[in-house]
């Protein structure tokens, strides 16, 4: 009983402890309630946020899945396409002015269509024709040339390149280029023959000179890289990057676009190369040695010769050469290029419109001449191996940035050519003139030719570039630069002098630039760039030397816009 009382007392006392200050207890309860409510609200907000995050997360997961899906497609696309493409498009306007052109007068040309019995050359044998020419020469009856000027005030062209590249792996790569080059409003692809190799649509120039709107294969080759005892080696096979070589990159506002020096070879062909990087073993900056091989003409089945015994006996034209980089530290460089071609032919297979045709009857030996009044297209083909050709070129380049802090480029190329004729051409036209490799009248003699090419490129405001170039070629100078991008003819094949100045203005970096330039040809000898016939001094030409028109001085002004990406 006593214990009960004590317990009741303590409970009452304990309750009294809380209830005695009644106001204070209710405040605390209220505060607790408020805290609970705040907590509830926070929890509610947190729950909302969690829901929101979960929703967002779900959206992001969906987005990632979507991106993954797209990336997979892109990866698959990249992995299977394997080829990256680039485009270059140049639109250009040229104004061409020929002065002092020389051509045989109609009185002489008509003699080829006049029967032999009436005093002409038609239906005569080789001996009769040559005898009559000799008699005319002795009697002073070969007339002088007619002189005239010719102008093409403006001619527009579009040049289009599709560049291809693929890196298969670190050791194997592929490069190629498809090209179309056309004159505005013309897609014939065949030109009238004025006596230049550039007037014939042939394997060596199809993509490099205007030939209509056909897309053609200019380059396609693979490169295999490896090491041979610490020497980097690369082997390449296919249609070669043999056009627009050094030092033409300055005027093209590009990097080096070809292997052989543009001074001796600017010509499309198929072949192979083997390159040795010698910098590490020699300690000479940039030292390298590249051997090159090419076939300029296929003499059998590939060129649609018949398999009959009467087909011309023409060998394949093989070419071999080397390119030795003697030094190249990006500021200064010296490169030596040598090439030799065996059994050059008296032309290359191609199409052209001849002013007249010459035919020889194998049974009677009679020559007939016929005017091409209908503008019919002729298929040209070689008939004779006319000899061998050698050429060498040394190119020296210097950039003055490190010396003078001025981004000025200078270059100088000295070149030599040697021709060894083997026989007179069996082509009826060349045969009556006794023409062979740089020779006429049957005089088969070796000749050396020389050339000089110099240029300077200066920086101008707004990243512009001003280029000044000069080149000169001697009487017997001959190179294979028929693919040079020029409507007049290869300036680097000129026997005489050519002056050129140009201004390149980038508009959107290297993606878009314009070029304004002028080029002046001052020919001294006939037949520049043509392997057939002895060069004759322009001032001493007679009508027989000018059955095709011969240019004396040509001025070409041009302006172009180029887009590359």
């Amino acid at each position: 009983m006593m214990k009960k009382k004590v317990a009741v007392f303590f409970v009452l006392a304990f309750m009294a402890g809380f209830s005695v200050p009644g106001v204070q207890a209710s405040d605390e309860v209220k505060m607790l309630k408020e805290q609970l409510e705040a907590m509830n609200q926070n929890i509610q907000k947190l729950q909302e946020k969690i829901i929101e995050i979960e929703k967002k997360n779900a959206e992001e997961i969906e987005e990632v899945e979507y991106l993954n899906d797209r990336m997979d497609k892109a990866e698959l696309h990249t992995a299977t396409d394997k080829l990256s493409l680039g485009i270059e498009l140049r639109s250009r306007a040229d104004t061409l002015h020929y002065s002092g052109m020389q051509a045989a007068p109609p009185a002489l040309v008509n003699g080829f269509f006049t029967p032999y019995t009436s005093g002409g050359f038609n239906n005569a044998t080789l001996t009769q024709i040559q005898q009559r020419i000799q008699n005319m020469a002795m009697a002073g009856m070969i007339p002088p040339t007619d002189e005239f000027d010719a102008d093409n005030d403006v001619i527009f062209t579009n040049k289009f390149h599709v560049n291809m590249h693929a890196k298969v792996n670190d050791q194997l790569s592929f490069s190629g280029r498809m090209a179309a080059y056309k004159v505005f409003g013309d897609s014939s692809g065949v030109k009238f023959n004025q006596g230049s190799l550039g007037d014939i649509t042939m394997d060596g120039n199809t993509s490099s000179l205007p030939h209509g709107d056909t897309l053609r294969l200019e380059r396609a080759y693979f490169v295999y890289n490896n090491y041979w005892d610490n020497i980097p080696i690369s082997f390449s096979l296919g249609r070669r990057p043999s056009t627009y070589g050094p030092p033409l990159e300055y005027a093209n506002y590009s990097l080096e676009a070809g292997s052989p020096l543009g001074t001796i070879i600017n010509w499309q062909f198929d072949g192979a190369s083997l390159n040795f990087g010698l910098e590490e073993v020699t300690g000479i900056y940039g030292a390298a040695l590249k051997f090159c091989y090419g076939v300029g003409f296929e003499g059998d089945w590939g060129n649609s010769y018949s398999l009959e015994a009467s087909q011309p006996d023409v060998d394949d034209v093989h070419m071999f050469g080397f390119i030795a980089t003697l030094f190249d530290d990006d500021s200064t460089s010296a490169v030596l290029n040598y090439a030799h071609a065996w059994d050059i032919t008296d032309g290359f297979t191609g199409l052209t419109v001849m002013p007249f045709t010459v035919a020889k009857d194998p049974a009677t030996g009679l020559y007939t001449f016929e005017q091409n009044t209908g503008g019919y297209i002729s298929r040209m083909q070689p008939s004779t191996d006319i000899g061998d050709w050698d050429a060498a070129s040394l190119l020296l380049r210097k950039n003055l940035y490190e010396t003078f802090e001025k981004d000025i480029d200078l270059f100088l190329a000295l070149s030599w050519s040697h021709t060894s004729p083997s026989q007179v051409s069996a082509n009826p036209f060349y045969e009556i003139m006794g023409q062979g490799l740089l020779s006429s009248n049957g005089n088969l003699e070796d000749h050396d030719g020389y050339s000089l090419y110099a240029g300077a490129i200066f920086p101008m405001p707004f990243n512009g570039r001003l280029g000044l170039e000069y080149n000169w070629g001697s009487k017997y100078w001959f190179n294979f630069t028929g693919a040079e991008d020029s409507l007049v003819g290869s300036k680097l094949a000129t026997r005489g002098s050519v002056y050129e100045g140009y201004y390149i203005q980038p508009i959107f970096g290297q993606n878009f630039f314009v070029k304004l330039g002028t080029r002046y040809y001052d020919y001294k000898y006939s037949g520049s760039g043509n392997p057939l016939g002895a060069p004759e001094e322009i001032s001493e030409l007679n009508a027989l030397n000018a059955l095709f028109p011969v240019a004396d001085k040509v001025w070409d002004g041009y302006i172009s816009a180029t887009v590359r990406f």
Binding site: S84, G86, E88, A93, T95, D153, V154, H165, S254, L255, E280, G286, D328, D329, D330, S331, N399, Y401, E402, D407, F462, Q505, P506, I507, F508, G509, Q510, N511, F512, V514, L516, I559, A561, R564, F565
Partner: protein, 114 residues
């Protein structure tokens, strides 16, 4: 003829004036950048850090956008040769950037280091 040439010249002049300076390219000197870049790796190779004096990254190793990002972040780890890179001035780096950018894989003139 004169009309055609006058028309062409006028067009090109207008395009040139409107377009010059629009290119969003790096300001550095790409020519100088090329020399500096090669110099870095010659020194680095002589020091023995890398086997070859040919830079490990050629301009065509990356796209223009990738070079831009790399130089904006100044993350030069991939280039190796930290010692040489740390000694380069801001100007030198800008020149190297200009060289790599202008010859990137997707540029009009992609290039390899020789």
């Amino acid at each position: 003829m004169r009309k055609s040439i006058f028309f062409m010249l006028s067009m090109l002049l207008i395009v040139s004036i409107a377009g010059v300076g629009m290119a969003n390219e790096p300001d550095g000197n790409d020519r100088k950048g090329k020399y500096t870049y090669k110099k870095v790796y010659k020194a680095c190779a002589q020091r023995g850090e890398v086997d070859s004096s040919i830079p490990p990254l050629s301009p065509d190793s990356k796209t223009m956008a990738q070079w831009k990002r790399l130089f904006e972040k100044k993350d030069f780890e991939e280039f190796l040769c930290k010692e040489e890179w740390s000694q380069l001035s801001e100007g030198d780096i800008a020149d190297i950037y200009a060289y790599l950018y202008k010859h990137a894989a997707d540029s009009p003139t992609p290039a390899k280091c020789k």
